[in-house]
């Protein structure tokens, strides 16, 4: 492998960077972990975000106060989120570690390969659920009164109104929120860099962290570029999918 960055006499590498990347087992494993990270994170965020948005929509008083307070994690910088959660989950002085301990779960979430992925997903959920909530809540507030009143007349209960009127009407808002989050979560490395550095035993090495390693630890800029292009391709495909979902709502 040629590690030198020879700017004066560049040589054409052909497809070498691509074959190197695509035949690297760690590359595919990183994509697998990214799938778990993005899938788990998005599903948890979507469920929690919609639930809290519906909660805020139905709460009789202090809606603005509650939504403002719930939005606060959004304003914490990703790096600070990582530092904060590392502090909270620290085995000697962490608040949440102690809570887990008193609940009978004697684990070190950031040091255990089985739990590390769970921990970084939870950090992402903590920080970005409010984004989904705010978008879905904005959608809920634009739902017109008439169908809801008609449902009241027909004797629908609260759950039926949510299931058959509110959720279908904010479906496009949900698609927008997912579009934004899915493209963001693919390249999200901040909390992973701070808390686990891809470890333990590569348990949280997502594609973003793999790219960072190839580029800045192994100094293999060419291969890193090809990894980055696969990430771009994945983002485009995902964006295309969600835009299609959006368009299908129009028809």
């Amino acid at each position: 492998m040629d590690y030198s960055l020879d700017m004066d006499r560049p040589r054409f590498a052909g497809l070498r960077n691509w074959t190197e990347t695509l035949t690297d087992a760690a590359f595919w494993q990183s994509w697998g972990r990214t799938l778990v990270y993005a899938g788990g994170g998005l599903i948890a965020q979507l469920a929690l975000g919609c639930a809290v948005a519906l909660l805020l929509y139905h709460i009789p008083r202090f809606r603005n106060l509650f939504s403002t307070l719930f939005m606060l994690p959004l304003f914490v910088a990703p790096i600070v989120t990582g530092l904060l959660w590392r502090f909270l989950l620290d085995p000697t002085c962490g608040l949440y570690h102690r809570v887990l301990h008193t609940l009978g779960l004697d684990i070190q979430p950031l040091g255990d390969p089985a739990w590390a992925m769970c921990a970084v997903i939870l950090m992402d959920v903590w920080e970005w659920t409010p984004l989904i909530t705010i978008i879905v809540l904005a959608g809920l507030q634009t739902v017109p009164e008439e169908p809801l009143e008609a449902a009241d007349v027909d004797g629908a209960n609260a759950w039926q109104k949510i299931r058959y009127i509110l959720l279908p009407m904010v479906r496009r808002m949900i698609a927008v929120a997912l579009l934004v989050r899915s493209m963001d979560i693919l390249r999200y490395v901040d909390t992973i860099v701070i808390t686990t550095e891809g470890g333990p035993a590569d348990a949280t090495k997502t594609i973003g962290y793999y790219l960072m390693q190839v580029a800045f630890r192994f100094q293999d800029i060419g291969a890193a570029a090809s990894v980055g292009l696969t990430m771009l391709l994945a983002s485009i495909l995902m964006g295309h999918f969600f835009v299609k979902v959006l368009k299908s709502g129009e028809a």
Binding site: L72, P73, L84
Partner: protein, 70 residues
């Protein structure tokens, strides 16, 4: 009907409190830690009643000592 409605509201507020707890405890912990001394910060279980110190804010805005004296 009235009682049922009151109970529903109680459940809504309880769920809201739970989600706010999830969102705000880390931030509150961070704010409180910023006003603790190093020793209190790493104390377990965390102490809720303590004399706040704003030394770190002073250091952040005014700098830690003066380098000119070296």
């Amino acid at each position: 009907m009235q009682a049922k409605r009151a109970m529903l509201h109680a459940v809504l507020y309880a769920l809201m409190a739970l989600s706010l707890l999830w969102a705000l405890v880390p931030i509150l912990h961070m704010v409180l830690s910023s006003m603790k001394t190093q020793v209190n910060m790493f104390e377990m279980p965390p102490r809720l009643r303590f004399t706040p110190t704003f030394d770190v804010y002073g250091e952040m805005f005014l700098g830690r000592g003066s380098f000119r004296s070296f």
